[in-house]
Symmetry: D2
């Protein structure tokens, strides 16, 4: 084994994020992983033969990540997005004029409910925002074709009718970056879609997602993935990469643990045994909250693109 002497992380008063990341390569544990993941994500993006997938799970927009995700799409860092329905719902909630809030997190949850507000760890959403969201979604759904659609088509169609320039649903539509949401039915958007479908025709064919997703995979020379949070998006990407030669690049950011065997916390290394990740792949698992880790990585990437 070759040993490389560590230099320790150095910091200065007005250093840039990129300078800090560079210095963090001299440390150990999580700081070094974040620095190396920045390089790895850059490698993924710059490899022209690599189709890059982004998996989105967890409360990303309540956590403040809307603009960071926007930059990822705007700069076309990724070629395809797989998300839970919640991320779409929270994007459209902002688009509808609704908001996420800071407030008093010590307030009792029963009292929070009485104020027509709901809590997400240390952030809040108001009932009023949900109503705006619902009105927007119902209005948009009225324009959407009534043929059976994959979730990809469905979200693309929604994006067509979003006018908010800050929406990631709209931006992905405009950039023609496909968004799949294979488990969207359990989200607020899913519930609204169902309510709509009670009155007017709307058909979502989740099996069609596989047809479209496998087409993207078969057209890929190599596959890479940035996996945030795990969940269905991770599982769906890995189902796909198993049809290919496995992911050639992977970054995973999650706070979930591996010991219970569930997919969200499973190590990237274990995915090698499934053929979901290539045995010669470059990968980094980061144990940390996406809201802290992702802005660091994407700022680092932005400054070098």
């Amino acid at each position: 084994m070759k040993l490389h002497k560590m230099k320790q992380v150095d910091i200065t008063a007005n250093m840039t994020v990129t300078e800090l990341l560079d210095s963090m390569k001299n440390g150990g544990f999580t700081c070094r992983k974040v620095a190396l993941a920045t390089d790895l994500f850059l490698d993924m993006i710059r490899d022209e033969s690599c189709t890059t997938f982004l998996g989105l799970a967890g409360a990303l927009i309540p956590g403040g990540m809307r603009k960071v995700l926007y930059k990822i799409i705007e700069k076309e860092m990724v070629d395809c997005i797989i998300t839970t329905g919640a991320n779409l719902s929270h994007d459209l909630l902002e688009t509808s004029g609704g908001s996420h809030f800071h407030g008093n997190i010590e307030l009792d949850d029963a009292k929070i409910k009485e104020l027509d507000v709901s809590k997400i760890f240390d952030t809040f959403v108001s009932y009023e925002s949900f109503v705006k969201f619902e009105n927007l979604v119902q209005k948009i759904l009225d324009n959407i074709p009534n043929e059976p659609m994959s979730t990809r088509q469905f979200i693309y169609e929604i994006g067509r009718y979003v006018t908010d320039p800050n929406s990631i649903v709209k931006l992905a539509h405009d950039k023609k970056i496909p968004i799949f949401a294979p488990s969207f039915a359990d989200s607020m958007l899913g519930v609204q879609s169902w309510l709509f479908s009670q009155m007017k025709p709307l058909k979502i064919d989740v099996l069609k997602d596989h047809t479209e997703f496998s087409k993207i995979i078969y057209e890929s020379k190599k596959m890479g993935a940035m996996i945030l949070g795990g969940g269905v998006p991770k599982h769906f990407i890995m189902n796909g990469s198993q049809l290919h030669d496995g992911l050639s690049y992977a970054v995973q950011i999650t706070m979930d643990r591996p010991e219970h065997g569930g997919v969200s916390g499973a190590s990237i290394k274990e995915a090698v045994s499934w053929g979901k990740v290539a045995s010669d792949a470059k990968w980094i698992d980061i144990m940390g909250d996406v809201t802290l880790v992702l802005p660091l990585i994407i700022t680092g990437v932005l400054s070098r693109l």
Copy 2:
């Protein structure tokens, strides 16, 4: 505040699980929570006005929980199950003659792959088992109606053609306990369903799940839930309980953390602010692995039913 003197947990050589649980009420932290959750789950089951939901996420059958889940269904402890597709897939894999295995967890993942085996933390599944699973599923799907189905109907139809007496899919069918799998598309069963649908008609309408699920909810006087692992099943149950007066009883067992805002690790208490859990509900959150906690609780329940 009334203070109750703790007596400490006592143990004896040949004590039963139920005796240990009774003694654990005298302790603190996780042991006491598990003991109290046993009582709470019993309360839920015995409350005739309560419709009890079971949420299944994570690698439960690779973790050895197939017979424990079987007992829950056999004794009709729950009225409705919401699961990821993976739990259905692993049940049917065992049904097909395939197996989960113990093996050498130190072996390198690339070498494990070369042996046509895949790893799930410290257990294994063989490629051969997957082939058996696939053959079984394709054969079953051939019998299934080609009208658009909810995932509930789809799984019910599958259960009709399963002959293995140890299958939880079959048992739930025979017991007429509905199983919903709103995100089943990202599972092995989802992939097989898609492959089948390429050749023959098969239509899964995930929005229809809401129609059927909301009917069950509207017919419920009270709602209770045992939530294992979180994920889409937790979210789906909570979406439903929001249409009602919130859950009156809830037990949650997960290793996920609350700090990143995602739903799997979110506290039950926070769900009160959403109206997903009633403000006067009885609930217990347990931080632990389902494979250890669930058999303790269900053994305790069995001995008192």
Copy 3:
């Protein structure tokens, strides 16, 4: 790699803890680890050439583990104990007539303080109990020799004057099982010892611990350890085992994570690189709360001894 077909965990209404553990060997993840750790701890105890060390960190007695620890000592399962000062303090607090309590965990912490009570996650200690503890300790310290003592001698001397038959400090004294508490100074017992030493002579020589501990180690043919919670006790045992050929047996139970490099969450496997654990050692790491895992293991051991 040899693959062994898993049989799944089975449960019955009135099964004993030992029967459940036997069945848990058929599962995966944490349930199987707990079952295997029971066997491993039995192997350690039964191996007459093995000196067995018990490391105690964390809030074990507030968590209800006093009688479980008592049984471990009573049955002479271990030969030497290394503990934080807190475990000694909470044992002596109970001995003094003080108590740990259950109460209303929803009460605001500022209000809890006003009631002269302190919270430990979901248990409580009263100010009144601390006063009893302090009085007891001051009375005992009055009898203790004023020569410089290792923490082992100091705790042994304290044990001499404890009359409570339920005290683990007393039982260890009577059984001549040495207890080391190398970091005892930061505990309530440490503070009381300091207060005493302000008025009367009392000298604790923590370096002398190494003299006595290394003697025990050099007299051991093999070493084994049951490590609860990590912390200084784990580190101290491992410092010692490094002077030997490393631990031949190790069970670790903790909820700490390995990713930050700290010793508490570090894997037993990593300790092999330090010579703290023998490369051919038998070991199991369990990610779980000691209050749930330890009573299961010790009940299993009791029934087979």
Copy 4:
């Protein structure tokens, strides 16, 4: 409850760390906590009536934090340090000419040992470095007074003989910032001190730490603390603050969980019930790895001091 609309975190290519932190205040969860903790630590430092304590636990220098800790001391951000012995040992190891290394973390631990190297998660230390460390420590100890010393005096005396300008032990000595290490006996430095004491007189009086520490506390108008990792340093600081009116400011950074009742993962809020933290204190708990969080906070502080 007053609700404040969230603006979402924004990033730009060459932004500084301080700009990123400012933007992170607009997010939620961990990113916002880190940003707010930066402000809170600044408040603590700027409050002239506040004595600020720094608690150091975990593998900080193997994680690359030596220069970050150096800056904290150099800029006199803190008035008193409480540490585990490991942090002193790793500082002196670097001082002695020894090193921490990056290497191949996939190598088997038994093979790593054969190479005379030891692993700390994803970093390494060589046996050769330990030898250098031991030689340095033995040489220094030869100069040290043989009267009974608190750990504070002991470390101060060591600092007197360190010539390495990068050493935090030396810098703290020069800056007259006291360092306590109440559990130092279980560290490499503790073992070396013991070996030395076998041949020559050396007496460490851990009870004397309380005398000196309580003097610092009684001279403080207010107390504040930055607590890294938990462990004995956290407990020791909190023991002290209980003698005062509790901490007025607290930042805690750890990956430990609260559910097992141990002090490392316990919430700052719970400490209010103990009088360890004032009921009107300002505090933030961060769930994350110190190696990632601390450089961000300290860079933010440096740029504003």
